[in-house]
């Protein structure tokens, strides 16, 4: 089956990325925009722009009827959801299928199964992939206390339908647990329409490591190695790299094998990411969740494998078998991605929308920039604050860090506050350079600078 025309149901850099992937493989593009993005870069480079609603995402990017409706009206034969917004909405995938639009992503069943953490956890357990010591959904406070006593403190309360750091709470006092459970349940109900909670063992010295997989729905599953996404501020990723530093070959193989096993169990189709938490103290890893979409940080995997994951998503959606076996995927060098956000690190990372008066990205071999920004672009207030993903490649981690420092130091943005200088600090810190970081690293750097005791080699 040949895909002819794709509706891109997203915005920002990923919409640009998808348009370019389509152009490269000869698929026409229709970009569905909100009114706020009518003049975006994606709209300018796509074959056609179709405005589906006002700036408010609920009436545009989060509205499956309008997105599928736009695809039908503009005679698209496929729809790419990008990441965020509706990308993991079983409703969108289902509505696509009902309207003969190929959804460029997994089946609605995969999204439902793997998107629900408790279901996904059960599948992982069934196929022997280690999961965090924890529980089935906790029904009440008493049960929660019992589970917590069994797995040991600290524990983390998680909303079954949460994600991206939302609906999580660490509890290290057994006496406070009952009250926290009550609060969390009502918050989860309000935020996700589902107050189901579960408890997990909380790993204090943890790394966030995830494995990229591709499945073609014909039974072929490969992995494209792992990524380390431990540098997070309040559960939002800031820096990602591939491969994960300091991981032994044995551990890496075991994690990648576990990811492939999980994907194979559900005969996964499209690109997906299996997330693990890695306990640096015990060197054990535990399955966290699976993301059934392309991820923000996919370029670091592309930089070390030479593959194009978005192109592969389209090929798989067209029904093609994978073009390469596991043995044909080669891994070389090291890649790092820094997210450049319109945020003020000095003001608790408050978003800083407004007009970009100057935009001069760094250019050099082995630097890749995925962005929708340009000089005089106005960053709208309506959406997330990501401006660009700055990605570098090096033959080893040391060279990649050097290149990233160079790239950040050459990146000129004016008119709005950005995280460029903060990222420079992060990757210049001796702990990062030595690979000694965990998921609390960024918050520590932030609190150090708030106290004025950065302890970093190059204060900015």
């Amino acid at each position: 089956m040949k895909l002819v025309r794709a509706l891109i149901a997203n915005r920002g850099e990923i919409a640009v990325r998808i348009v370019r992937a389509c152009q490269a493989i000869g698929i026409e593009t229709v970009i569905a925009t909100s009114e706020a993005d009518r003049d975006s870069l994606a709209a300018r480079i796509a074959d056609r722009t179709f405005c589906v609603g006002p700036a408010n995402a609920l009436e545009s990017y989060l509205n499956p009827e309008r997105m599928v409706g736009a695809a039908v009206i503009t005679e698209c034969d496929c729809l790419h959801p990008g990441y965020g917004f509706l990308s993991e909405s079983p409703a969108l995938a289902k509505m696509c299928a009902e309207n003969d639009i190929v959804f460029v992503g997994p089946s609605p069943d995969h999204i439902l199964q793997m998107g629900n953490k408790i279901l996904a956890r059960k599948i992982a357990e069934e196929c022997g992939v280690p999961t965090l010591p924890g529980s089935e959904p906790v029904l009440d406070k008493e049960e929660a206390v019992g589970v917590a006593r069994k797995i040991g403190l600290p524990v983390m309360i998680k909303a079954a339908s949460g994600g991206g750091g939302r609906g999580m709470q660490i509890v290290d006092d057994i006496n406070a647990l009952a009250a926290e459970i009550e609060v969390a349940a009502s918050e989860a109900g309000a935020a996700f329409g589902d107050s189901t909670l579960y408890l997990e063992k909380y790993i204090s010295n943890a790394r966030h490591i995830e494995v990229q997989v591709l499945g073609d729905g014909h039974g072929n599953i490969v992995h494209l190695g792992e990524r380390d996404c431990s540098l997070q501020r309040r559960h939002q990723k800031m820096v990602e790299e591939a491969p994960a530093p300091g991981l032994s070959v044995d551990l890496r193989n075991r994690m990648c094998d576990a990811a492939v096993t999980l994907a194979r169990t559900v005969n996964y189709k499209s690109a997906g990411t299996v997330e693990f938490i890695f306990d640096m103290d015990s060197e054990a890893f535990y399955f966290l969740e699976m993301n059934t979409r392309i991820q923000v940080e996919h370029p670091v995997t592309e930089m070390i494998t030479g593959e194009d994951l978005v192109e592969e998503q389209f090929r798989i959606a067209a029904g093609d078998k994978l073009r390469f076996s596991q043995a044909e995927i080669s891994f070389r060098g090291h890649a790092i991605e820094c997210r450049i956000n319109a945020e003020s690190p000095e003001a608790e990372f408050l978003p800083s929308p407004g007009e970009i008066t100057d935009w001069q990205p760094p250019i050099a071999p082995y630097i890749r920039l995925d962005s929708h920004c340009f000089p005089n672009y106005k960053v709208p207030v309506n959406y997330d604050s990501m401006l660009a993903k700055l990605v570098v490649y090096g033959r080893d981690r040391h060279q990649a860090i050097q290149r990233m420092k160079h790239a950040l130091s050459q990146f000129a943005i004016d008119g709005i506050e950005t995280t460029v200088d903060f990222q420079y600090r992060l990757i210049s810190s001796s702990n990062f350079i030595n690979g000694q970081m965990n998921t609390r690293f960024v918050d520590e750097i932030v609190s150090q600078s708030e106290k004025g005791t950065s302890g970093l080699p190059i204060p900015l």
Binding site: V4, R5, Q23, E35, I45, G53, G69, F374
Partner: protein, 182 residues
């Protein structure tokens, strides 16, 4: 004009000053104020032009016309749908907020995207055509999206001066559907 009209009164001056200061602390790009005998324009960047949306090339590969002869199968029209009037910011409930055109007519814009139908069913006459007199709350068309039909109300009472979208045509959100002279 008489001489006293050419002076700035202290009151006017204070007002202009205040406008500039207020505007300076705003996020807008330009301000134009025209009063009888006075015109004030303030802004950043280039002076405002009829089409403020038209920022030029940015060095980002924004090639206006990709090479032809390479397009597969059915070609997509390039940014078609009658280049909707971007000055229209009416939300779903407020098509009547559309500004007046030169002839005094007011645009009725699509409150949602979808397929526009000018008549309730194929065998009926159109809700409104040029010359029809309509009330503000009168239905002048339907927009269908995924089998759900939304009424398009006139929003203003008057005479239909133009119907911009044909029956069965796709409309974007905010696209001008027809014009009504009050």
């Amino acid at each position: 004009m008489e001489e006293d009209e050419q002076k700035i009164t202290p009151e006017q001056f204070a007002q202009i000053r205040e406008i500039v200061e207020v505007f300076n602390s705003s996020n807008f790009d330009y301000l134009t104020l025209e009063l009888a005998g006075m015109k004030l324009t303030v802004g950043t960047g280039a002076a405002p032009v009829p089409n403020p949306g038209g920022t030029a090339g940015s060095g980002l590969g924004l090639r206006p016309d990709p090479k032809t002869g390479e397009k597969p199968a059915a070609a997509v029209e390039r940014n078609t749908a009658g280049t909707p009037d971007l000055s229209q910011t009416g939300s779903e409930s407020a098509p009547a907020e559309a500004p007046e055109a030169d002839d005094g007519s007011v645009a009725v814009v699509a409150p949602t995207m979808g397929t526009f139908y000018s008549r309730p069913d194929p065998s009926s006459p159109p809700f409104a055509k040029v010359g029809t007199s309509v009330d503000a709350d009168e239905t002048v068309g339907l927009i269908e999206i995924m089998k759900v039909f939304n009424n398009v109300n006139a929003g203003i009472s008057g005479i239909v001066t133009e119907v911009c979208v044909a029956d069965g045509e796709a409309v974007e959100f905010g696209q001008v559907i027809m014009r009504i002279r009050p």
